[in-house]
């Protein structure tokens, strides 16, 4: 029984972390059809933002939930204005340019921070379920991810900003002729996606540590989750990370972590072969 609860919690934690690292990328891909390969480095920057903010005496939670997203969001807007906006509609070129950006940021971070892992300790301690130990922070993380997704849903569905964003997503030309500055929308969207990535990096920093090359470990997984999810931002991310995260944890549980990772990747390949438009290309087509 205890074991079942622990495994269930691990599955939830895996799904949550997959959703967390993918959601920033999903916003940018879903809204703008831009595949941002510098996503991993936005995560890395979020991690460093937390480490430096806490060193300057800012509360850890403030640093994770406010400072890191703001900082990385700002970086995102700068990137969008200086590089991405020249490349809209050229998917491959944006991929290459953001890949270049990714290498550039890794290089810059290595020069500034050095090629070593730094970390902050995870807050909140642990809790025991029967004879098993698990950290409270991981449980809180599940809740935070749920709040983020619900918040995004609310913003997209209920606010005027969300309406404008959805309109631009569906038909940019029509939105523009109705007086919406689409370039401003894109800029804000890219910033918001970057901010989400930054927050993701900040939230996983206590678990994984921060390293200039840490993004590489996440970008491929996030990329795969988003593409498997398809065009709908929230439903897609959630369904893909639900499927892949569960498979990953179960395979890890049965075999080894490596087999778990391989199972995740292999499942994604099969999924894309069966549903080339991703999960939401076939199911939940009208969802957000």
């Amino acid at each position: 029984m205890d074991l079942a609860v622990v495994v269930l919690l691990q599955v939830l934690a895996a799904v949550a972390s997959l959703a967390l690292i993918s959601v920033g990328l999903a916003v940018i891909f879903g809204m703008m059809r831009v595949i941002n390969l510098a996503h991993g480095e936005f995560i890395m920057l979020g991690g460093y933002a937390v480490i430096y903010a806490t060193r300057w005496g800012i509360n850890l939670w403030v640093a994770m939930l406010i400072v890191a997203p703001l900082f990385v969001g700002l970086v995102g807007v700068i990137v969008e204005r200086s590089v991405i906006r020249f490349l809209y509609g050229r998917m491959i070129d944006t991929m290459l340019a953001t890949w270049g950006l990714s290498l550039l940021l890794i290089g810059a971070a290595t020069m500034i921070f050095g090629n070593t892992t730094t970390g902050v300790s995870a807050p909140l301690g642990g809790v025991s379920i029967g004879q098993y130990q698990t950290s409270i922070y991981e449980l809180v993380l599940i809740v935070i991810v749920a709040v983020i997704l619900i918040g995004m849903m609310a913003i997209l569905r209920l606010t005027k900003l969300g309406l404008i964003a959805r309109a631009t997503m569906q038909n940019p030309a029509m939105a523009a002729s109705l007086g919406i500055s689409t370039s401003k929308v894109y800029s804000v969207t890219f910033g918001a996606g970057a901010a989400l990535s930054g927050m993701a990096g900040a939230l996983i920093a206590p678990l994984s540590g921060v390293l200039p090359t840490m993004g590489v470990a996440y970008v491929a997984k996030a990329f795969i989750t988003v593409i498997s999810g398809g065009a709908a931002i929230i439903t897609g991310t959630l369904s893909a990370s639900g499927l892949l995260g569960t498979l990953n944890t179960l395979a890890t549980f049965v075999a080894t972590p490596v087999i778990g990772e391989v199972a995740l990747l292999f499942a994604a390949i099969v999924l894309l072969r069966v549903l080339p438009q991703g999960i939401t290309g076939k199911f939940f087509r009208r969802a957000l």
Binding site: V83, L87, L96, W99, L103, T256, I269
Partner: protein, 362 residues
């Protein structure tokens, strides 16, 4: 350029490149020569991507999978057989078969550009993870321990076919590598001039139209993809001979590098990527020696600048310039002729110089 001009340029290029292959070992020290061999092996891998991406229109983000598979197959077989002859053959056959299998999976599923990129990238990641996890005695193929993260440090060198006693020296491997690059370059050009190659190009131009003309596009894509896989496998063998086999061959870094080289050199050309790869490897190696400057920073900056300013790549932009200069015949600016394969590492750097001009004007 007129067809006759092209032929003349090809002959000149062939002579120059063969001369360079034989002159370089006398000029360079052994260490530099081994480095040059690595550059050439990477150039072969770049050529394979230039072929399948630039001409076949197949955006493969996982060329390193074939590269690594070639290297590993070679190392494992050479250790087990004690003779590298069949190892070389198998190290081209295995990546080719794998490419065929993967190609069957994706092309018959009609999976397009970005999704294809994701699948191939994922494939490479799987290999990377799997081979990293092969540490310990449990993971042996015959007498070859896979060695996990460390790879197979004792990768045996090539020997003369069916003559185990004569292991080849680094100079010999240079001749083989450079010779193969020239061979593969002219081979690719020949392939693209056959009717098979023309259909492949027409698929890149317009998939649907080609299909409506009655060609089974899946087969043609599979064909060019398999050939690219075999070529990348060969690059893996040569790389394994200069360095050794390790899971880094499957890493994102190698994947990224080839794509960058093809982009910078020019998609849709063969010479551009070859020169692009050699020149960029030299530039990055040179700049990497400067203290405190990270090579990733340079590579990244180069890629961003090229995508923004010279999206077509160096060689196509130079061609545009060349055509522009040719209109008033008085101006015979020294724009390098096309048709100059593998003219050796030194020659590549100057041809990169006019890139900035090309970017401004086109």
């Amino acid at each position: 350029m007129s067809p006759r001009g092209r032929t003349v340029a090809s002959v000149i290029g062939f002579v120059v490149s063969v001369a360079a292959i034989f002159v370089l070992p006398h000029w360079l020290e052994l260490f530099t020569l081994i480095n040059a061999t690595i550059y050439v092996s990477m150039a072969i891998m770049t050529l394979s991507l230039a072929l399948i991406w630039g001409y076949g229109g197949i955006l493969c983000f996982g060329q390193a999978a074939f590269f690594g598979l070639g290297g590993y197959t070679y190392a494992v077989c050479a250790i087990n057989f004690g003779d590298s002859t069949w190892a070389v053959v198998l190290a081209m056959v295995v990546p080719a078969l794998f490419a065929a299998l993967l190609g069957y999976f994706v092309f018959w599923g009609r999976i397009g550009d970005v999704y294809l990129g994701v699948i191939t990238l994922t494939m490479t990641l799987i290999f990377f993870k799997l081979f990293n996890a092969t540490a310990g005695d449990a993971y042996k193929i015959g007498s070859a321990a896979l060695g996990g993260f460390n790879g197979i440090p004792s990768t045996p060198p090539l020997n003369l076919p069916w003559d185990v006693g004569t292991a080849l020296a680094p100079e010999d491997i240079w001749y083989i590598a450079a010779g193969l690059l020239v061979l593969f370059y002219f081979g690719s050009r020949w392939l693209l001039s056959t009717s098979f190659g023309r259909v492949v190009i027409s698929i890149r131009e317009n998939e649907r139209r080609t299909e409506l003309l009655g060609y089974d596009i899946r087969r043609y894509k599979l064909g060019i993809f398999t050939i690219g896989g075999a070529m990348a496998g060969m690059a893996g063998i040569l790389f394994a001979n200069c360095v050794f086999v390790s899971p880094t061959m499957f890493s994102l870094f190698y994947n990224a590098q080839v794509i960058i080289w093809v982009t910078v050199g020019g998609i849709g050309t063969l010479l551009g990527p070859i020169f692009g790869s050699i020149a960029l490897q030299m530039i990055v190696a040179e700049l990497g020696t400067i203290d405190g400057l990270d090579p990733n920073l340079i590579l990244g900056a180069i890629l961003i600048l090229f995508v923004l300013l010279v999206p077509k790549g160096v060689l196509p932009s130079l061609r545009v310039l060349w055509e522009r200069f040719r209109k008033p015949p008085a101006v015979v600016e020294a724009s390098p002729p096309t048709g100059r394969p593998a003219a050796g590492a030194q020659k590549a750097t100057p041809s990169q110089q006019p890139a900035a001009d090309a970017g401004g004007r086109s």
